[in-house]
């Protein structure tokens, strides 16, 4: 087996200082199926974007077929017979399948597009590689599995020998996944090489010849798939987490504040994203959700806070079902929300800091006075909050967009915490912000939990979930796979097995702890 791709000592530092790849060595042999695994943020997508010419490496060398290459854009990568199927499909919805396959390189006859030939070549490719599609169907009307096959055919039409598939199974049903695997095997039989990005270890075992594991921008190792167990891979992926230095007073769990019962959610395309999720939140306790991103955490928070409509279930707060109520209704019940995406749902970027601080309460007394706002009160209250939450700004009249990420997050935290919440739902509360602000926000979370707030914490940072939570629930493919009543007593290796769906607790085991 000779290597067809060698990436040597790849370093990628983004303009904002984030080190996505740190000295990665990655080798792919001709004709193999090579799985690339790692948690979100491990750097695998960046590495593949570099290989496909979308991003340029800060340092390092890429060798394709024995020759050192520099890719300025993905066109250069295509010239070197590398094709990529992105996670979000790059198709033109109103075009036919065949038009999408040949787009950019249409066969011509007398200056016009040869429409018969377009259908023919698509049919030929489809037959040759066992990727069944209907060439004259409109892309808008076909399902996700078929769309993916169109994407693969597109790369094959451009003579790709090396195919990069970015989390191809994330959007597929189990049956579609099996079809895809069959197609991948056919491709390899005909001499193609496939790089398969995933974090589903079951699939790694099933389809790949070798597997490379990445973590925190580094390559942990490449091994023959048959030589490792899923448990060993999970340990390589999750590894040792840095424990945070947080002093947490003893927990005094009190009454039940929110009862979540059998919540389900369907994506726009009808894929089940949450499957009958149930748990309770108690006063004085932080419940952490551990899971690899994309397993339903985002949707869970959006459903609980009224941003998305569920497909069934109940959420009981103070004896009332608040599921699918409006966000304001839910907030008026005392549910505060630190949203995952600060810029979209957390702040109004061009509004002032003051306005952002009162946006959940301006319509109520004492801020509302007749039809006007009591600006004097707004001014004093926001000054208090700016001081109390040490938001670094000359004054509260500035647009919130002028603040750094950490200070912007503090504005959100100040607003949500000062409403004296009955339940707080915190999603990625410290993502992408500086160390000082991170520490401050974590301490505040612990403080209001000790004061008696019920908190649901969702974070992609496993270290954060483990050190802040009192109780942990693992979520995998929209289902709860395990519950750990004493967060301090569970190891990250153990959690990893549940987060990656290798181990499950039975409903009976979980019942009394949820």
């Amino acid at each position: 087996m000779q290597p067809i791709i060698e990436m040597k000592e790849i370093v990628k530092v983004y303009d904002n200082g984030v080190v996505a790849n740190n000295g990665v060595n990655f080798t792919v042999n001709k004709g193999e199926i090579h799985a690339l695994v790692g948690e979100n943020g491990a750097g695998k997508s960046t590495l593949m974007k570099i290989l496909y010419g979308i991003e340029q490496p800060t340092e390092g060398e890429i060798i394709v077929d024995g020759k050192s290459v520099t890719f300025k854009s993905s066109l250069d990568a295509i010239d070197h017979k590398i094709g990529m199927v992105h996670q979000n499909f790059m198709l033109v919805p109103s075009f036919t399948v065949a038009s999408n396959v040949v787009l950019g390189g249409e066969p011509l006859k007398k200056g016009l597009i040869d429409r018969e030939r377009v259908l023919e070549v698509t049919k030929e490719l489809s037959d040759q590689f066992g990727l069944f599609v209907q060439p004259d169907a409109i892309v808008d009307s076909i399902n996700v599995g078929q769309r993916q096959r169109v994407e693969i055919l597109k790369t094959l039409y451009r003579k790709a020998e090396i195919l990069i598939l970015d989390e191809p199974t994330a959007v597929l049903t189990p049956q579609e996944t099996q079809d895809l695997f069959k197609a991948i095997r056919t491709l390899v039989q005909q001499g193609k090489t496939v790089i398969f990005i995933t974090h589903k270890l079951r699939e790694v075992k099933e389809i790949s010849d070798r597997v490379t594991v990445m973590r925190h921008g580094k390559m942990i190792g490449t091994v023959d798939t048959k030589d490792v167990t899923r448990e060993q891979m999970a340990n390589m992926m999750v590894g040792r987490e840095v424990f945070l230095n947080i002093t947490k007073p003893e927990m005094h769990r009190a009454e039940k504040r929110m009862e979540i019962k059998d919540i389900s959610f369907l994506s726009e395309t009808g894929r089940p994203v949450l499957r009958e999720v149930s748990f309770n939140l108690y006063a004085g306790e932080i419940l952490g959700i551990a899971g690899v991103e994309g397993n339903g955490q985002t949707e869970l928070v959006e459903v609980l806070t009224g941003l998305k409509k569920s497909a069934g279930g109940r959420v009981i707060v103070k004896d009332e079902d608040i599921l699918d109520h409006s966000p304001r209704d839910i907030r008026l019940k005392g549910i505060a929300h630190i949203p995952e995406d600060r810029l979209t749902n957390g702040v109004a970027i061009r509004a002032s800091i003051e306005e952002n601080l009162i946006v959940d309460r301006y319509f109520r007394a004492p801020y509302k006075k007749g039809v006007m706002l009591d600006y004097k009160l707004v001014d004093t209250k926001s000054k208090e909050l700016i001081k109390q939450f040490s938001i670094l700004t000359p004054n509260g009249k500035l647009p919130v967009g002028s603040l750094s990420g950490g200070n912007m997050q503090k504005v959100i935290v100040a607003r949500e915490f000062s409403s004296d919440p009955y339940v707080l739902i915190a999603s990625q509360p410290t993502r992408g912000i500086d160390v000082g602000a991170t520490e401050f926000i974590r301490e505040e979370l612990v403080r209001i939990r000790t004061k008696g707030c019920a908190i649901l914490l969702v974070s992609a940072d496993l270290g954060e979930v483990m050190s802040l939570s009192d109780r942990i629930v693992t979520l995998y493919e929209g289902k709860i796979t395990g519950v750990f009543p004493k967060a301090a007593e569970v190891s990250e290796e153990e959690l990893g097995l549940y987060m990656l769906g290798i181990k499950h607790q039975t409903p009976e085991e979980m019942e009394k702890f949820l």
């Binding site: 198709l91 075009f95 787009l103 249409e106 011509l108 395309t269 009808g270 089940p272």
Partner: protein
């Protein structure tokens, strides 16, 4: 005049011919706007480009005495204004609507300003002698009763407008560049990954829309009338944009929508002879636009909802099938 005469008028060959004539200066900007729209850069300056085209055509014809030079100059002026819009939007990233608004105001102010400098008149160009494009009498067809009166004897621009529908269709659906243009409009990211230059494609689309809108303008000043008037397009560029949406962004659909607006306009001309307040009658084409667009929007939403439901159902069915199997 009685209602009866009006109704009889509507069913006359002259009336139908007038619908065709009135539709022409809507079809042109609508076809141009369509090309830009499907490329993802709605040309909001169609109205202004029509005014510029109308003005330039008249002036160049008056001073050179050449109808061909006049048409060429009108087209060039229209393309330049369209490209200016493109530079502001595509290179300087200004908002398309604001840039379009600026282009329209500039066109309406600029044409009047130049009109005054050249002719000393701020209202119209009647003091200079403008040429007009010839009318075409189609042999044989012109002698057929009724049909001949409808189809024959229109200015050459009218035939060109209807022929352009066919041209735009071939361009968008059968040529490589037209196909890329549609891809750029629908999914620029996908087009980019396939090596299609999005900015260049959109620039060219705007230039093409400039050609059509300028022809629409010249149809007013060199066929309809033989002079330029202040704000000559009188909203036809905007109605053209409405026609694009109502025609579901398909060449033939857009043509039919343009004819509908032409029909509404012709009706309002006919009713002008009745004892109804003229303001009310003149509202008809614009009211038609609003109603038609509302109906279309509702239909579209329904269709989108249906599609989503079908999608979810299919998926759930396939999951259920798996469950059983």
């Amino acid at each position: 005049m009685s209602l009866e005469t009006v109704i009889r008028g509507i069913f006359s060959s002259l009336f139908i011919a007038s619908v065709i004539r009135i539709s022409t200066p809507i079809i042109f900007p609508a076809m141009g706007g369509l090309v830009a729209q499907v490329a993802g850069v709605p040309n909001m300056a169609l109205e202004g480009i029509m005014n510029v085209g109308a003005f330039t055509g008249v002036m160049v014809s008056a001073f050179t005495g050449s109808i061909w030079l006049a048409i060429l100059a009108g087209i060039i002026a229209g393309v330049l204004l369209a490209l200016l819009l493109g530079v502001f939007h595509l290179h300087f990233k200004s908002d398309l609507f604001i840039a379009g608004l600026a282009a329209n105001l500039m066109a309406s102010g600029g044409t009047v300003f130049l009109l005054y400098i050249i002719t000393g008149d701020k209202g119209n160009s009647s003091t200079v002698r403008s040429l007009s494009v010839p009318n075409v009498n189609i042999p044989l067809i012109k002698d057929i009763p009724f049909v001949g009166e409808i189809l024959s004897g229109h200015p050459v621009f009218t035939y060109l407008a209807f022929f352009s529908v066919f041209l735009v269709y071939i361009f968008l659906y059968r040529t490589r560049f037209g196909t890329h243009l549609r891809a750029v409009g629908e999914n620029p990211e996908a087009a980019t990954t396939l090596g299609i230059n999005v900015v260049r494609t959109r620039m060219i689309a705007l230039a093409i829309s400039g050609i059509f809108a300028a022809l629409g303008g010249m149809n007013l000043s060199m066929a309809y009338l033989q002079l330029f008037q202040k704000e000559m397009a009188a909203g036809r560029g905007w109605i053209g944009i409405a026609a694009i949406h109502l025609g579901a962004r398909k060449p033939v659909g857009v043509m039919l929508a343009s004819i509908l607006f032409g029909f509404a306009d012709a009706i309002s001309n006919q009713l002008g002879s009745l004892n109804i307040p003229s303001q009310l009658v003149q509202m008809i084409p614009y009211a038609t636009t609003v109603v038609a667009l509302a109906v279309y929007a509702i239909q579209q939403r329904q269709a989108a909802l249906e599609r989503m439901k079908k999608y979810q159902k299919e998926h759930i069915d396939s999951l259920a099938a798996e469950h059983q199997g």
